[in-house]
Subunit: 287 residues, 4 copies
């Protein structure tokens, strides 16, 4: 939606953005390709060529989030016109899902889950898919520019969700720690668990403030000047939310290996007490 | 099997251990209980009472691994005779799965997976389950002792599997890094990826040697003297395998958040280059 | 100065605060005691007793920063009136340095440095030191309260200095990385060094924002409501500045062990290349 | 000594190795140069040229450990004959300290300490220093080869010392934790301190085993085959000893910032208790 809102023509907005905003239809975004590392956009292999009044697309895309949703009616597809030039030549084009040649191959799973409720993450093939030239967004060769300008806000959203997720995990951790009991005291009365709570709050707070700062920079300085801040929250938010959830899970769910057969914390306590005994024995032997 | 091999009576061995060793049947182990933190065994609530020539068991257990396997014919159940005494009073008893009152409630999932192929991890209820007194292992009140003496070897197996898992992950990471290309060079030619490989080998090697050392201590000094070594590998192996798999996954699978929208490494490179520019501009301004 | 400004009587302010503000004299703060862990204030052993119109102080203090400065004319001393009550009974009292019984024993060193330029960190003994009753600050038994209310701003200052220190270290790191060359390229062109720069900026930025947030909370909500924020920056700033300086030092100074005999980064690169060769050999052997 | 023992001629051994082994004299090793990053040996700028029966050396070296010891009678100097070839052309040569042109410029300090007791780390200049051709070790152009073959054992020694240092730090930590009391219990009864002890033992044990393994590889497979193991301990031992000493110092010495104004652990406990209160208040507000 953001792409159409920022870069769509009047006609494109009327046809796709309006029903999207009304919630009548959904869209999906087709960028990543199997076989090539897509963090380097120069690797992209989706071929777009002009054929009179049409464009023809040939490509294999995957991780197209939401493509399996029955309400998904249109794909935004990132293509290239010339594979020999390393940069430029990227274009973004609108492809209605019912266009002949668009094939939903299979849903992919993320760590074993298919996110069916959101429409999954699909492998989608485009075989000689033909769309009118007016479907191109902003113009030929401007795909990379669109992607860049759209990424700032998108990354902010990722970070905001990651902060929210971590806040929720910390809330669950605190509730668990206040209600459950081991070795004669509540979990939160175990210093190690208390320090987890403190470390989680510290990480969340730092990332929350950095996200607000990046959002402020984006609003006041624009996406180019805010690049450093945006890249920082991309890294910080993902990392922080993984750590906080990892801490919270220690007592909220069963996580194999670190939990099975006694949580690591019990083992660390037992190593410590055995080590202390060994050391004291040694220091007495010296007398 | 280990429990029966080490502590079973001749009759118990004949009836259960032999078909287990022949692979004709499977067993499951019922220890963890819902509602109580089972890393503190004093929390256990499974009640065993003597009724003339029988024992009667009432309990709710879960995370009984393998209980859903059709070949699973017998459960080893950890119970207590007296909930008022904090220690002791734990007993281990053999319960044939077809005994009236044994109910498989539902398979539980571990991070969304049910491990159906191994027989899953089940919630199992025991309602007035009656077994002959001879089913007790080693004797009343000796359950905790059995658990302790059995844990050393069990934890070694966990660590060995964790080392193997990490070795496999590193192998996949190396193959990927040697074959895939971004920004004009192979992944392994990116220093950051090369250092991941080095860090993984370092962690695996240290844990592998510690596991061998613990195994050697267990064999030569016995399980009591090897407690510190065993506790150390329990912690080290779980932690190491999580880290190595986490590193390997960076390029082997898609992991959301840290991967989506460009892997963190690309963002770190971009933060660095922007920071350098800012710093150099600042230092020139000083002149 | 902060203590006198916030809690001093008119007479105390006139006598000590004014020359302090004019820079004519300096003060020192005597709190920590040898032999007892002073992070728990209940451990404090400095005895204050009332003797008609005077107070008499007996104590051994150390880490009295600035006590050796020739301009240091007055000490603020934390004492207790009653060692049997765990809390309360703490009082803060002004002791002119030339009072009989005040003895500067020796300067202590911090990691081998004596900070002589600031007046060092001294061990100071108080033997039957007698001062008029009007020297007590705010009143008997209010020492703990003064300490608490003064700590918020003090911790903010620590954090601000830590952020400044880290900024300076990053600046030096960037200059070094832009000017020095190894293995055919500038240091900053080595990905691993570039990522250090990025990680440093990320840590500094998060701590800087948290410090600003704590300062804002302190100003708008008061020191009691801001306790959590203040405790967070105390932890975050110390930890962050240690990490950033540690990174920066890698190429700015010689640090033994991690530097001597080739920096760790060179060794990690060599482990990685050997590991890759081993893995590739293994995977070819499988064919 | 190792260099002479492995690569010295009979004459060199007789003249220098024998008095070294008898402890009558000391030697120093001159490799690192100011201005160039010496982890890349291609940067070295010490010039050696042949002049009939002599070699003439011109160079500025620093971090020459032990050069200031009054018993230091000979330097082993790493030079190059040709600065235009990137590799090879390195030679090692023996230079008696009293040779005209050898100048001890100044002792350097490592983190503020000059290690005077061991002879310090000196900047040494060589100005047209002339020695007989027979002083070259092993032959022209073989300096790099000598350095490589000598490094394995040298790195083992570093690791062994690092393990010993960490063992000593852990011993001190245990003694302190068993004797000192805060908040109503011994330090080791604080779970967080207990876990430090456990983590330290874990790190030491893993590094100790890896060091033994590297030593075994070096003895049985030779220095070339053991390169990976040797590089691993170089990294692991430095890192481990820094961490263990850092943990141990928390309560053994005063370390500014993380200690001053209350150790971080006290602050983490206070953040945790405030966070818990906030969370519980929030969850009650929801009812």
């Amino acid at each position: 939606m953001e792409v159409l809102h920022m870069f769509g023509s009047e006609e494109q907005k009327k046809k796709w953005l309006e029903p999207l905003l009304r919630g009548e239809i959904r869209s999906c975004f087709c960028m990543t390709e199997p076989g090539v590392p897509s963090s380097d956009e120069a690797n992209m292999e989706c071929i777009l060529h002009r054929d009179e009044e049409d464009y023809v697309i040939n490509s294999t895309k995957w991780w197209c989030s939401g493509a399996g949703n029955p309400k998904c009616k249109v794909a935004v597809v990132m293509c290239r016109m010339n594979l020999f030039l390393r940069h430029g030549q990227h274009s973004m084009i609108l492809v209605p899902m019912e266009t002949p040649g668009v094939k939903l191959i299979r849903p992919l799973t993320v760590f074993g889950q298919d996110d069916a409720i959101h429409g999954g993450h699909f492998e989608v093939h485009f075989e000689n898919v033909r769309v009118p030239a007016s479907n191109i967004i902003l113009g030929e060769g401007r795909g990379f520019e669109i992607a860049q300008r759209r990424l700032g806000p998108g990354r902010l959203h990722h970070s905001m969700r990651a902060v929210g997720l971590a806040e929720h995990a910390l809330e669950l951790l605190c509730q668990r720690a206040a209600s459950r009991q081991t070795f004669g005291k509540k979990l939160h009365q175990h210093e190690v668990v208390a320090h987890w709570i403190a470390e989680s709050r510290l990480m969340i707070e730092q990332t929350r403030l950095l996200t607000l700062y990046a959002a402020h920079s984006l609003d006041t300085l624009g996406s180019r000047a805010a690049r450093k801040q945006v890249a920082m929250i991309k890294v910080a938010a993902a990392r922080m939310s993984c750590k906080v959830v990892d801490i919270a899970i220690q007592y909220s769910y069963a996580r194999t290996l670190r939990i099975a057969d006694g949580p690591d914390e019990v083992h660390l306590s037992s190593i410590a007490s055995l080590e202390l005994k060994d050391q004291l024995r040694k220091s007495q032997a010296k007398l």
